[in-house]
């Protein structure tokens, strides 16, 4: 027996369990209010004045892993802003684990050259930085992952993030953050939410300090260590456009119409189906033709996943889609929607597509429409490297949704410029052919022979069907067969499938050597 801090007799041990006597209200919880008389609330101030102070406070050291998200798309200021500071501070040998990187992040080249950054883990690379990597100028290969694969890797500890630098459109002084309030609104913070949950230290960077509590919040205060207020986290004009417009390009519209015709004639087009479309070109335009058919045939979708655009929101508001699950919000109209509509729900990347959690949304998906840079005779899809072999795209949710969905529809023109989209073997496999169900182009539709049920179903349907071999022949008759791209033996990128296995490698392009 001993007396605790308020004089009560407490046994040292009971039934073999050791007991710790009370030692005062704030003794073991240094983060709570220490002085009731101080009215400057809250006492626990996470706010620091500069990025540099945040970096110091985070304890960032050589060799650590830091993370960023890509919800600000091409408008993002955070990556360059933070990396400038870190580079100046002389911290070296960092791994950047970003959900994705954009063309304007080519400032990283300087930080790679001076040794600040030695490894990149990302969904994609574009522009000069991508070319830099393809040229073999980075020491370690880049690890490319899918959105679901990244969430898995973080949750199982394969990627251990020491400090997450997360730009948020708004947060309060305690760290409750959301993506739809403030001048730099981006909508869902789905990718960032995973980092916030699983990083050792979480730094929020915002340009809009909201009153406490900043409800509803996507990132909770209990996950946040440090907050920095900056002038701007991004360029609103580049973070989102007003409303995503459907293309006027006749070829994309033709592909979209073919895709919609195929989906409508498929067994998946039934009341209560679920769908996801991409945000660009033919993929987005498919929604226009689907809308017409859904109205005509009185069919509604129970939910849509993704990548939410104003087209989806319009369909929802017209009663054609009941609910939306949103990992990434693409335009102003959908940002407004997610802010006010409880049927438009924000989800994080793990909920979206982590293949090893107890249930991710892509598994419940009926139809997904995806694009492709290349697709081959085995239906393997490349969305990462261009026809010149240089990295130019991103893995994204491609492989996640392709395998998760019942019907994965790949849309692309058969010929782009002077190269065929259909090839004997794609340069880089992101999505394996066994998860791809149909390829829809402007010059024909090819069903994956593995889907015998679909081939049987479409026997009586009059659509421009071909085999992949026929499409390749058609394309080659038009543009010829190009010489193969020459690569060196040097591996500059590893493509990780969503389950963590390596599905392909990216090699150094000889012409850039």
């Amino acid at each position: 027996m001993s007396k605790n801090a308020i004089g009560r007799e407490i046994p040292e041990e009971l039934d073999g369990v050791k007991l710790t006597p009370f030692d005062g209200a704030v003794k073991h919880t240094p983060l709570v209010r220490q002085d009731k008389g101080n009215r400057q609330l809250p006492r626990l101030n996470k706010l620091v004045d500069t990025i540099e102070q945040a970096v110091i406070k985070s304890g960032l050291q050589d060799g650590m892993t830091i993370s960023f998200h890509h919800h600000f798309r091409s408008g993002d200021y955070i990556v360059n802003m933070v990396m400038d500071v870190i580079s100046r501070m002389g911290i070296k040998d960092l791994t950047i684990a970003a959900s994705s990187l954009m063309a304007h992040h080519d400032e990283l080249i300087g930080h790679i050259e001076n040794g600040t950054v030695t490894q990149l883990i990302t969904s994609g690379l574009r522009g000069k930085l991508a070319k830099f990597v393809s040229a073999g100028k980075m020491g370690k290969p880049v690890l490319f992952h899918s959105h679901g694969g990244r969430a898995r890797a973080i949750e199982v500890g394969q990627i251990k993030i020491d400090v997450a630098f997360l730009g948020v459109p708004s947060c309060d002084v305690y760290g409750n953050a959301n993506g739809y309030t403030g001048p730099s609104a981006c909508g869902s913070l789905g990718y960032a939410m995973v980092d916030a949950k699983h990083s050792e230290t979480v730094v929020l960077i915002t340009d809009f300090l909201a009153d406490y509590p900043n409800t509803p919040f996507s990132i909770d205060q209990d996950l946040v260590d440090i907050i920095v207020k900056v002038d701007a986290v991004g360029d609103p004009k580049k973070i989102s456009t007003g409303a995503t417009r459907i293309t006027q390009n006749p070829r994309d519209l033709l592909i979209a119409r073919n895709a919609a015709d195929f989906i409508v004639a498929s067994p998946y087009f039934e009341d209560g189906f679920s769908m996801q479309t991409g945000s660009g070109g033919a993929s987005l335009a498919t929604t226009r033709f689907l809308t017409e058919q859904m109205e005509k045939k009185n069919i509604t979708a129970s939910w849509a996943l993704g990548g939410i655009t104003s087209q989806m929101v319009k369909m929802h508001e017209a009663g054609l889609i009941k609910k939306m699950l949103d990992i990434q919000t693409f335009d102003q109209d959908s940002i407004e929607s997610i802010a006010k509509n409880r049927l438009h729900t924000e989800i994080d990347a793990s909920y979206y597509a982590n293949p090893l959690n107890k249930g991710c949304a892509v598994n419940k998906l009926n139809v997904v429409i995806l694009s492709a840079l290349e697709i081959d005779l085995n239906f393997n899809v490349n969305v990462l490297t261009g026809s010149d072999g240089v990295i130019m795209g991103a893995s994204g949710g491609h492989s996640d949704t392709a395998i998760g969905s019942g019907l994965s529809v790949i849309v692309a023109p058969l010929v782009r410029g002077r190269t065929s989209t259909v090839t004997e073997n794609v340069l880089t496999v992101i999505t394996p052919g066994e998860s791809v169900d149909v390829f829809v182009s402007d010059r024909g539709i090819a069903i994956n022979p593995r889907r015998k049920d679909l081939i049987e179903h479409f026997k009586k349907v009059h659509l421009p069907f071909s085999t992949m071999e026929e499409l390749l022949e058609k394309a080659e008759r038009l543009v010829g067969k190009p010489d193969s791209i020459e690569f060196t033996d040097r591996i500059v990128g590893l493509v990780e499938y969503r389950d963590g296995t390596i599905i392909d490698v990216v090699r150094q392009v000889k012409a850039l050597d």
Binding site: L254, R257, H462
Partner: protein
Amino acid sequence: MKLRRTMLYVPGNNAGMMKDAHIYRSDSVMFDLEDSVSLNEKDTARFLVFNALTTLDYGGIETVVRINGLDSPYGREDIRAMVRARPNVIRLPKTETAQDIKDVEELIEEEEKACGYEVGTIKLMAAIEGPLGVLNAYEIALASTRMIGIALGAEDYVTSMKTKRSPEGVEILFARSMILNAARAAGIYAIDTVYADVNNEEGFLDEVKLIHQLGFDGKSVITPRQIQPVHDIFCPTNKEIDHALKVLEVIKEAESKQSGVISLNGKMVDKPIVERAERVLEMAKASGINIDELEDDYNE
């Protein structure tokens, strides 16, 4: 029945568009050597169109080439090259008289003979774009056995008529009617003028509905986006198809009973009604509707 609901204009100097011209499923594609090609590109365009026609597979879609008039320095060379490229149809712009057609035909025949091709394989159509041509429409339509159609070109026409185009198109009603009537009298196709305001979908639909009601066979279109709306409007409705099937059914019944006066729902069924019903079903079949399936439904 050969459909000519849509004839897609493709500038003859645009290789990218030419390579894809047929994938949008218009009934015909028309490569233009005339107004969409600037003077310094006339030979390039002729060369490109020649090579497109002789190299690419247009998948059976009717190919038409609009040549320059014989009053220009390019018309004759266009004919020389195009007879060798062998499109299905050569279209003469700004046709004023039957003689214009005869002159072109003569040159085509010369070239066909020179190449050893069967005379008469290349068909002709005439665009009528001025007041004199409108008055001569019937003679133009009959000017050659090669003639498959006449088309209105409204832009030049309204300028000659000292007016401009209106959304309702009242200023070209006379020309449309003349051309249509001439085409019907001659037994060839009547094709309507282009609708230039490509982003005005509503105005375009109104115009297509109007020319469909007037009786035109189709319309020249200037963007692939205009194709499907025309086909949709020209496609008979289920109600029309149903009615047509019923008309043919009662006719068949009456023939077997050898009864004289035939009626359906209290209305007399006579020859024009039967012809119309047959045309509706032909158009439906040509538009890709499976009539047999509908017939089954109907029989049930």
